[in-house]
Symmetry: C2
Subunit: 614 residues, 2 copies
């Protein structure tokens, strides 16, 4: 055990580096770092087992910095531990991996943070993934007090205690000050203790600047073997420098070079200390990206069969689960609607019931993905909107593979009405800077796309439909990401209808209606919404000059927009999509009200081809 005075000195050193780094950068959050300096010193130089030479080791303890704006002290601690070669003073520079908030540009960061209240879910996911593999490592998550106002923290807390993740330890840095004023509880630590206890945790309040108290609390945490443990650490923001300590108005504000900085550094005193972190684990179990075979899911349907894509999703998951031990399936108490229950029936030990808490479900999935698992998480498409911030942040964590599936997309769910209809999901997932968006129309394409998703990189979205749809494709058909299927075409096509999912079936009906009127049209299944098949769309645009898009999704931001941008200047684009607030009615009535049925496609084609090219 390291001498506690050495750890206290290390805390001062971390403060010094945090102050210097933010002053050098001209921005950042020094006072946020200063409140947690003893916590970080004790964690990195006494409590945690980790291997400074190997950020990929899994049988070591993991750390998630949920209060991401304290990034400078994370870089300082990693630097002092010999884990990174970069100078922490290169913070926030375009040539440094040490960003303003933690990102995986540094290999020590598996979970990007900076949107508050998200770290604990991801930490729970890591703890769960390791338990799956029988690895007894501990997972530490440092939170700010202000961020515990985020409900997602309590979703994570409930999940962790329900799952008995006793190797998970949360530390709450109660410095009492938010960005723009005091937190709700200020320095009163008791409400935090009561909340964590009410949510099934063990908890202890400590003086967050006392190294011995922190060490003792971590010992208690390790000794608690039936539930997770929360350390509620009373601290002072800006601790160590009187001009900053506990003062409002210093959030996100570096010290000025010159007397202000000099005085602060002087006040920190002697910070000459070096604590060697020994690699304490061998042999090392290294994180590997799961490698799944391709094309091993073979759809089994008969031509003309009616099967909901949501059901095919479940069928495919069950097959995937039998073949690939790293696949984990999560669901938000909708497993009998999304059909993820089919996976549960096959592999109950790798099914995670996340209950009605979509933010935590996505966070746990991210934690699993960051630790080498291939999670598939599902709920109604409408309810994935609940986790948009978590999904956005997940893309910045650059996970190996993280698949989200939204069922019950569109107005075609019918009677349940607007609240249950996923109408913004395509827009939401398309807008992510890094994402893949898939939208199968039948059972065969669904199963193939589930297999594709399992081997894709990053965040992948699969959109499924409630009603049954006809099986359209031969069992051997392949659906590469970025592709499309041209289902009808001829040399005299006068227009092209681009559809996906349920509206593809309407488009095929419209083809027949148009054929009767002597109007040949091309029909394209844009099952890969992002990336979209530009070449095929542009060729169709050049050859037919008129495109009609039709989607059971908001008319803004979905398929129509994805297509129009590819054919700008080449073809007229008539868009059909959900454009008025929907309501309870039968699926057919709902689709009729939104004008996305075959007859409306027919009318749109005729309208478009009657317009002269402008």
């Amino acid at each position: 055990m390291t001498d506690t005075s050495q750890l206290a000195k290390m805390a001062q050193k971390l403060r010094r580096l945090s102050i210097l780094a933010t002053t050098e950068a001209g921005s950042g959050h020094p006072t946020t770092c200063m409140s947690c300096a003893e916590i970080m010193a004790v964690l990195f130089f006494e409590e945690m087992r980790f291997h400074p030479g190997d950020p990929t080791a899994r049988n070591t303890d993991a750390f998630v910095l949920s209060k991401g704006h304290a990034a400078p002290i994370l870089w300082a601690a990693l630097s002092e531990a010999g884990a990174i070669a970069e100078d922490p003073l290169t913070l926030r520079k375009s040539n440094s991996p040490l960003e303003g908030h933690p990102t995986p540009l540094s290999p020590w960061v598996k979970i990007a943070s900076g949107s508050l209240g998200q770290g604990l879910s991801a930490a729970a996911g890591i703890a769960l993934g390791r338990r799956f593999d029988g690895i007894a490592s501990r997972v530490y998550c440092l939170l700010g007090d202000g961020e515990t106002a985020e409900g997602s923290v309590w979703e994570a807390a409930q999940f962790a205690s329900h799952m008995r993740l006793h190797r998970l330890c949360a530390i709450v840095d109660v410095n009492g000050l938010g960005q723009s004023g005091p937190t709700m509880h200020g320095h009163d630590v008791e409400p935090y203790v009561r909340k964590f206890e009410a949510f099934g945790w063990a908890a202890a309040a400590v003086d967050g600047h006392s190294v011995p108290e922190l060490i003792e609390a971590f010992e208690k945490a390790r000794a608690t073997e039936d539930r997770p443990f929360a350390i509620i650490a009373r601290t002072a923001k800006g601790k160590g420098v009187a001009a900053l300590e506990g003062r409002d108005g210093w959030h996100g504000k570096p010290l000025k070079k010159g007397p202000e900085l000099d005085a602060a550094l002087r006040e920190l005193g002697d910070t000459e200390v070096k604590i060697r972190v020994e690699p304490r684990t061998s042999p090392v179990i290294t994180l590997k990206t799961a490698i799944l075979g391709r094309g091993e899911i073979v759809p089994e349907y008969t031509a003309g069969q009616d099967v909901a894509t949501r059901e095919a999703y479940g069928t495919a998951l069950a097959k995937l689960g039998r073949m690939h031990p790293d696949v984990v399936v999560l669901d938000g108490d909708t497993k009998n609607s999304t059909f993820s229950e089919k996976f549960k029936a096959t592999k109950p030990e790798r099914f995670v019931e996340a209950h009605i808490a979509e933010q935590n479900m996505v966070g746990v999935a991210l934690g699993l993905a960051s630790d080498g698992k291939v999670p598939f998480a599902s709920t109604f498409a409408a309810f994935l909107t609940r986790a948009y911030d978590q999904i956005r942040m997940a893309t910045y964590s650059r996970p190996g593979t993280l698949v989200l599936c939204g069922s019950h997309s569109g107005v075609s769910i019918g009677e349940d009405g607007s609240s249950q209809m996923g109408l913004e999901d395509l827009a939401m997932f398309r807008a992510l800077i890094s994402s893949t968006v898939l939208y199968p129309s039948d059972a065969v394409s669904t199963e193939r796309l589930v297999a594709e998703a399992a081997t894709a990189k990053g965040v992948v979205y699969i959109r499924t439909t409630r009603p049954k749809t006809r099986v359209l494709y031969p069992l051997s058909e392949r659906f590469p990401i970025g592709g499309s299927k041209t289902l009808r075409s001829g040399p005299n096509d006068r227009a092209t209808v681009v559809a996906a999912g349920i509206t593809l079936h309407e488009a095929l009906k419209a083809y027949e209606l148009l054929a009767k009127e002597g109007i040949p049209v091309r029909i394209i299944d844009a099952y890969s919404i992002k990336p979209i098949d530009s070449d095929t769309l542009q060729q169709a645009a050049v050859e037919t000059r008129h495109l009609v898009t039709v989607e059971d999704h908001s008319i803004h931001g979905g398929l129509g927009d994805a297509v129009a941008r590819e054919v700008a200047g080449i073809a007229n684009v008539e868009m059909l999509g959900v454009h008025r607030i929907p309501r309870s009615a039968s699926p057919a009535e709902c689709m009729e009200m939104q004008e996305i049925t075959a007859t409306h496609i027919l009318a749109a084609v005729k309208k478009s081809i009657s317009r002269p090219r402008r």
Copy 2:
């Protein structure tokens, strides 16, 4: 006081109607209604003061059904109370306002529900709005037990106790069963009591099928004058019919006509009861939509001044606050960044610090809007993604006016990095079926658009920018929603650059660079992203045949998509936008990395005009 046996009989009658309505509809959630029948009977026929003839009265008690899938019993109760003329058995039909989940098609519903865990925030907003006006009415919110897994419930709980909303009463219907299996706590009511108490509420556990226990609990709630009160009601899902009671697998499943239905109705016994609800309030204070004058905000700047649009937002709010007593401003602990603190400085009594809990902030704003206030709620644009589900549901509540402002949009925030950059906000708000999306580029347009937003209907989004931008417009300039500004144009324009916000300033620089090369271009400020100015864009497309869009937002789903769809077939569209994962660097470096600066606009224009028309 009504005889308790009559109330018990009314509960049975409400069960009967719920069963009949769902069987008639062929879908819906009878068992979810049956668990809360006594709660609903006591609330509507004993506890609540309301005026069955007037859903707009404000000095009466308010009710929010957070567990929205229990809609059939709400319609049944309203029908029995004489508040609605519709037959509850018209549930879920396209010709009935009685939807599958509550929506304002019935005037008794101010808060649409059906996405779980959202009602309590809205109820808190209603309670707060009435306290603002000195109206002592009580607000009741009925939740399911499963939905308390949603973190948003705990955001609302913390907010309500912090704000001492003692007239707010939550009732949790602990029936122990979710959609696809048991809830985490099953029938153990103690964890719920502990949680609410830890979050600062008073709480009492009762037998949710005992009318006297419920009456007593409501009395206790009324007597509690320092904090909100939670009634934790132990119930059985499907209560009253042995075949359904406490049975898993009956969620969202109506009874079949014939012996199954008949036996159930028989088992409910005699349900002949009529309880008259007396209008107990006079004079009635009626909800009126706040009417704000137009154009009363006069910008005060000098030409060439540099002012951040986020600061102009705050300045405009302060002016608005002085003129309009119904304007309420909320912020999620970012008031010193969004500049909503300027409103707080002027009207502290109508400023609401919502702390770091964006979901609750939006829910409270919705509650305020539903009760006649004009809320403006702000945080970083990135963090509004946290509340996407709440925002989506808010549009279905059809509020009078609800303005959301996202600051720090785009990569131009610089060093703080990806987590803090709002890059999906335009896509997210555009995709809503009913929304207005505004994106000012300078201080004058910001102030004018704040005034426009205050008088617009429904959900309005205003996007502001962190860095200072040059004042471009004369103080008298008007910015109607749906309009645009053509800042540069000539008869020989060879291309049009469409920009908004910070990139408009890059477009103006590009204009100068292109002019030097002898390439005249048109410059359009698309400050109204939705609705967008189709006519002006189409005219520009016809006249110049080449459009370049440039935005500090994801290249998918934002300005580029909004423009491309309007000019499909008429003009080439080159899109510039954020297309790679951004990182910490200076604002200028960040914009350069994403290729959205003047030099890239110049290159895009030259590339486009060199391409032959296809």
